[in-house]
Subunit: 348 residues, 2 copies
């Protein structure tokens, strides 16, 4: 079973993913594993047998599970970092150290049958279905008492950690509220204690007033380059209304979110020639008293810099682009422009 | 001047390195900058005019500064992430946000005149001189009241962020104690409050007893794979005696440290075919009351995994190798074996 281990000094948790473990010699520089080509892609139509059986799919009526005919398909991860989901986490001790069983879930949400189309290319009407799948899978796990946090993430491009090229997102259900979310919850509470207001609502107001970090905006969402952006072209999608949970979006809000995600990723695709990126959705923990103080959002970080010795040793990122110049650049990308030339196969 | 910006929610600091700023379009995938070849290397002998004038060097007697004849050479970084060093940091506010001027120092310590030899190849007697240079530069800045922390780091290999191939370390003097060090200081104090003991001293005892995570050991240093290793083959060099400050090492301890650093990097070089890695030295902040509670150490993280959406969104790393298997593998590397074939130029 996967295992979580806590650092004795910093109290940071690390997941030791024994299900994905490799032999030590496989880490030798000569042994790099190439991304499989499309013909062997387990996420392509007709290859449904290459994945574990689907747990959900949006399908053409009348088609059978695990056969073609799907639009969005959700399967368990073949090499789960967390699981199983039907056990309570058990804490134990090894000498002075603390470990926890890595119970939970790890699912893959395949964006569409198309191997080459990601959010920047898919029609907004299709991205709405992806968003609907995010919410459906969130709802499938949120009552599980063993799962203390649910994170939906997307890795785009090999340099951003996508081990398969075919666009997909991942859902992790994990047995603790992770430090990155605890820091935000602490910040939300501290700011509210000091001001009586929601810090994210105040950011919406401040960024709309300043304008210089705004990338795009619609009735429901503000997209901006955070004032303390960690990487060049970091962007946040922030609901303009106060809501702790992304999974409570109305259908109208889901449509606006899908459109926002399309436009932001299209700006990156056209403006920066399809850079690798990661995004994740921070929503309130499923249990506990964080609601209604939290304010959900999506954070997107292009993989355009390397966290090297300084960043690892300090926790302070060095960002070589100002958020203001990044926002201006992305704001001015012409979304009606033709796509850049297709990159060489296997490059991303 | 470089600028530090604080995130309003998490209170994380980010350095916006305007001195190193690039045009937004330079981040486009097509615009990647290649590592310069050796013939244009500013750190090679005879190219001394390509760097800012040296601030220190160990030299053959009778040779002039900024000419050949040096063994270890220290120069200001041409594109400093922090500076200048002669001003107090100034905090100011932009809307709801907080910034600080990025005063400080950023120096490059060129390991040797050899373009191709790093710690795994250099004689231990030469690495002793590098260690001596670390301490000398640390001591040069530690009285500066504007500098609240001094970090020495080493990036090895392009994938680990080394923008120049010629082996070198970097010293950063920055105007705050960074979060990664604060977390350790908090952990040291918490553990001492609970147990009356130093957590790092207890780790030395526990790891020597367990044995399975020990990589190597000599009279002065224990090298081990941390129980909660964040990446495959993470390793810590921990002094077996309690000392808050690396810069207080005796000459005998410096010799043992140089030998330890050589052997650890040689294990990586021979065992994993020269993987990219980062290391940094965590020592007590130069000012304040952390001494004598802190316990200095070196942390080394091979760049063999990508921090992707899950890691960024949670702060929890997923490690696909157990520290026990990594330690066993590195412990068994034959340091008398011949070096692997040289990689193609420009690959790392």
């Amino acid at each position: 079973m996967p295992q979580l281990r806590q650092d004795l000094v910093t109290q940071r948790w690390v997941a030791i993913a024994t299900e994905r473990a490799k032999r030590p010699s496989s880490f030798s520089r000569a042994a790099a594993v190439p991304v499989p080509p499309a013909a062997q892609c387990p996420f392509c139509v007709g290859h449904e047998a290459m994945t574990p059986p689907e747990v959900m799919a949006f399908r053409v009526p009348g088609t059978e599970p695990n056969t073609p005919g799907w639009e969005v398909r959700v399967v368990p991860n073949l090499y789960p970092a967390f699981g199983p989901a039907d056990l309570e986490p058990v804490i134990s001790h090894v000498g002075p150290y603390t470990t926890m069983t890595g119970v939970g879930v790890h699912e893959v949400l395949i964006s569409s049958p198309s191997h080459g189309d990601d959010f920047a290319q898919l029609p907004v009407s299709h991205i709405e279905k992806v968003v609907r799948a995010y919410i459906a899978r969130y709802d499938a796990h949120r009552q599980n008492p063993a799962i203390r946090y649910i994170l939906i993430i997307n890795n785009h491009g090999k340099e951003a950690g996508a081990s398969l090229e075919h666009p997909h997102s991942q859902l992790f259900g994990i047995p603790l509220v992770p430090s990155a979310v605890c820091e935000e919850l602490d910040g939300v509470r501290r700011y509210r204690a000091e001001s009586g207001r929601c810090v994210y609502c105040d950011i919406v107001t401040a960024e709309r007033e300043a304008g210089e970090r705004v990338i795009q905006e619609n009735d429901w969402f503000l997209v901006y380059a955070p004032f303390a952006s960690r990487t060049p072209f970091e962007a946040s999608i922030l609901p303009k209304w106060h809501a702790a949970r992304f999974e409570t979006m109305t259908v109208e809000q889901q449509k606006a979110f899908a459109s926002t995600l399309h436009d932001l990723t299209a700006r990156l695709y056209h403006g920066l020639n399809d850079p690798p990126f990661n995004f994740y959705i921070h929503t309130a923990p499923p249990h506990g008293d964080a609601e209604p103080d939290y304010h959900w959002h999506l954070e997107l970080l292009p993989k355009l810099a390397i966290a090297a010795g300084f960043e690892l040793g300090t926790g302070v990122m060095i960002n070589v682009a100002t958020p203001e110049s990044a926002a201006e650049y992305l704001r001015n990308v012409d979304l009606s422009a033709p796509a850049p030339a297709v990159s060489a196969p296997g490059v991303h």
